[in-house]
Symmetry: D2
Subunit: 347 residues, 4 copies
């Protein structure tokens, strides 16, 4: 920490998420943006905030850096985590840790005990509404969850050039919802998945445009996840947890509090909050606050490398189930990545 007691954070990467994190670091009282490193936009981003531009490797060993936010391309995440952790930095890494379970395991092994300073940026865990549902479930308000429904739909598919290296719908998109399932309900033992290929451009690239997954837990709870790459009414992010004493649900955010009524009915006058940057704006800010607390040794990761691995294992199992048309058990064996994947992984 610097003389003002602020945690000095370097951002690795200079794309969209890197810029978003840089801004939140600047807005977080306990943090300061110490450097930007990596990517063609690094020097521009650094100068916009009046901070240093470093080489990537230097950032992980720089004495003026207490923590790093890894927002580099996915294929570098695992290496960067190891370098940063070994350099003694606290880490916030964008999901996924890696698209291959084997590399995730290697990363975890290489990081070792330092993993208690590595946070995986599953943004939904940091959202006040989703977090409140978890707290109220843990508080016993509805009893043990018997049915959980997670609806997660993007307003539009990603750019087509993004798809081939994305890992496919399960590892790229549903991984958030699989993690949320684990965040709210323990003991998942099986996965059953069905995909749809209604978007011809995604289908041409071997990816699904939607999927439904049913997870069962050892206690008999059923979890259902609905994903779609395209939703006319906007970014659809809801869940409902039902237990013997009640239901807790998270509804969609709207852009304003305005309603319009007329002969055609009453209308919210706009789609749901249009995209993740808006919907999870608060969550992104809380990620940085959490990184500050982890760097100071005041908190352990809300989402750890092991959570990152477990969500990926569920995504891999879901892809297998969809391909085979069978329920797939999950556990140590299921976590091995032995079946052909829906989308070819990048080198």
């Amino acid at each position: 920490m610097n003389t003002a007691g602020k945690v000095r954070i370097a951002v690795i990467g200079s794309g969209k998420m890197a810029s978003l994190h840089a801004r939140n670091i600047a807005l977080t009282p306990g943090a300061c943006l110490a450097a930007v490193a990596g990517g063609s936009g690094a020097s521009g981003l650094a100068s916009a905030y009046g901070t240093a531009c470093l080489e990537v490797d230097d950032a992980f060993s720089h004495p003026g850096v207490d923590a790093v936010v890894i927002a580099s391309p996915n294929r570098f995440h695992a290496d960067h985590i190891v370098q940063a952790a070994n350099g003694g930095k606290a880490v916030l890494v964008e999901k996924p840790v890696d698209l291959h379970l084997g590399r995730v395991d290697e990363c975890i092994a290489a990081v070792g005990a330092a993993s208690d300073r590595v946070v995986v940026a599953f943004n939904r865990r940091f959202d006040p509404s989703f977090a409140a549902v978890r707290e109220r479930i843990l508080g016993g308000e509805i009893g043990a969850v018997e049915q959980l429904l997670i609806i997660s739909r993007d307003p539009a598919p990603p750019p087509l050039e993004y798809v081939p290296g994305s890992g496919g719908l399960f590892r790229d998109m549903m991984i958030h919802d699989l993690d949320m399932a684990r965040f709210l309900v323990p003991g998942i033992v099986s996965v059953q998945a069905t995909t749809q290929e209604t978007d011809p451009q995604l289908a041409a690239l071997g990816d699904a445009s939607g999927a439904v997954v049913t997870l069962a837990t050892c206690s008999g709870a059923l979890i259902t996840i609905l994903n779609s790459r395209s939703n006319a009414s906007g970014y659809d992010q809801r869940l409902e947890a039902a237990g013997p004493r009640g239901t807790l649900s998270v509804k969609n955010a709207t852009e304003t509090l305005v309603l319009g009524s007329g002969r055609g009915g009453t209308n919210t006058g706009g789609a749901f909050t249009p995209w993740y940057g808006d919907r999870y704006a608060t969550a992104y800010g809380r990620e940085i606050e959490h990184l500050v607390a982890v760097a100071r040794g005041e908190a352990i990761p809300i989402a750890s490398l092991h959570d990152g691995r477990a969500a990926l294992a569920l995504a891999v199992a879901a892809a297998r189930s969809a391909a085979m048309g069978q329920r797939v058990s999950v556990g140590p064996a299921a976590a091995q990545e032995t079946t052909p994947m829906q989308v070819p992984l990048p080198g």
Copy 2:
């Protein structure tokens, strides 16, 4: 009652409300439609239900009639009430009892002790939602009401030929809301009213197109009523009662439970329930059930002649306040109808 133990009800009148009441009588297990009397459509209405068509005067003394529903033109209400009550019939009379306080007082005097078998059809008192608010207020849920807001807007003005004999906005339309104010909050002591004349056709007939009235009670509660003869989003019937422990509100009904979402937002896909026949369908059925109970001596009127008089007195006071631009006290003196009225009353 007839041999099957049903209360035999005659409908006086053959217009829109008479038809509606005839249908509900046919649908009420404890009631049967004994006769229809009065108006050019009486024989048609009677034959549609396979029942007798009587002369109006005969209905009030007929031994086969236990109760009457008075849905004749307003100017006959007071006389019909007296005739029916003196004939030993239980009575449900459409509002108003009369448009003149003097004739209402004469009616009450002539009915005497039989008034405990005369129900004034203030339909909102019979609505399950409004009734539930009253019960919950009386149950102490929110404490003593401090502020009550009543919003009552019609989708469109009445036919222009109806206006001259209607008594004007306060006596014709707001009387329902003034009665609801009394139903929920006791001790009204003053009235302050402002009208608007934004509808030129109504203005040409001397009537307002909207009004805001503020009533104060002896305990310091404030009641606000918003009326409009025209509302683009449909029949708007809401209220909110706020007390020291909470707020109870009644929202608008919608035609279906369907919501439509798209790029333009989320929409109820239709205006509020379009008109009183739909919005208060349950209430009209409950009016007949209540009449049956009153006829059997199992209930006293939910809305009495005295309630009808009190609401009219408030309407008269509101019209005075609007004309004078002053707060008007209500009480025995205020109840006298001494000032020129906004709309000339029919002979």
Copy 3:
């Protein structure tokens, strides 16, 4: 039809649903309750409505009966349909036609061309909100449905003595939702199901307490059905259909329009409409109106025997999928009832 032009309807059965239908027949202008037949309560139900009590067999051939409502025990439905249809009566039969596909096929064969006068009482098809969604989908408002979600949860399990003869969750409860899936989206080709056994009493009887089913269509649409036998917040009956241009959803009904607000938030002040008799009150009335129209030759069945068979075939396939842990194709072959069923069927 009788001299007043009313369709004369006999109710077969005298249980809960028979009583409900008798009441609605009495309330339907174009219908009259001609007789009640069958069950220990038949004479009581008949006398309550001042109508005749017949022997069951006589009802199907009685010249004073134009139509029958079959609300006898499930195991008699198929026989009663055949008798009634062969007797020239229009028919409204409670679901299921039968719990065995083979008997349903025999019934359809025996009824022959008269099947265009046999209505299966899938009540949700008659609900104004669900029907409006279908109309709006057919009108092209949201484009071809890509994802459909149906949530259907009972407030509490059925009486335990009802379970052994019920056919199990899929054939007894989910059959409504499987029919709704077919009502809204064409071309279902596969079923994938998972059950849960969180209710030990139901589990002891071999029945599930909940299930999630995913149906895929030939066009790539995915349909998800969530069922639970027990829901703390009441009778939960919702759906959402999403297409490329928007989403249409049906929300739950509430008992009143009242909201209560206080330090604990804003509350609807009561669970969802508590049970099917209330939630589908309008639908049951419309079933009788539809039967009247079919009896008069003015309409063809909204839900036919073939629809009853198709929903049962999906239920059978879902039970198989749940037992096998595999996706099951549906089609002529899948409709054969060749696998052991979750709940032993009655004789």
Copy 4:
């Protein structure tokens, strides 16, 4: 502006609002906190942000200050505005400009042409939802507003020591709503007000605990404002504007998107957003952004000194109307402060 092109802003005052503004200045990309001045907490606030602590008078002439935010005690506002404006600074001043119309007029005269760089911090104008309603009204979506309803209720009364110098409910609290009325509907010509004194502690200090005000415009529109100093369900900030083509409304914000359902109904699980700091958090940020734009000459004030004067004149007229029980015309004459006020004004 400094070398980085940032507008250098000094905060005058060190209380709650001063702290809030200091934080927002630090978070606004185009602004920097140049100094804090005035009040016992000034040096602490300055050091918390690593900025200078000035004497108040120096702040208005300091060459390193481009703009000031005046959050000093109310009685200094007018003087500080004049000093700052004459010093060439852009100004954002907390409401009220002053509690006396006479001093406001003097202030306006002394500021002269510099008034186009003075913004009055009517926070609701900066709220995205209220602002969207204005834009949609101006866009013609609902036609000319015929009825406007503004509901504004605090969760709890202010500290009692605050009341004597506050100017009373109309000038302290309702002034926001009177300004909002002017923001949305032009041409107010009369005021009719009724107060309530249901809070004995406020009554002992000569202040009301609630009020209802009806404003009429030259076009015949009616505006109703409901105020209460105490609301069990939280900070209640709503409005509805109805015109011939529809209604635009702003609903309350909730703390999260979570709903809880159970046997007791469906609940938002928390009161409305608890207080102005949360409800108007975005608005406060936008105030600073607007000040930056005004300081740069890129915008004229969204709320000017003249708007501050007009809202105060309406508040004064409302207090007169409530005291007299009469409708009061507003215009040049009504703006004179000639009647005794409800709450004695400070020196």
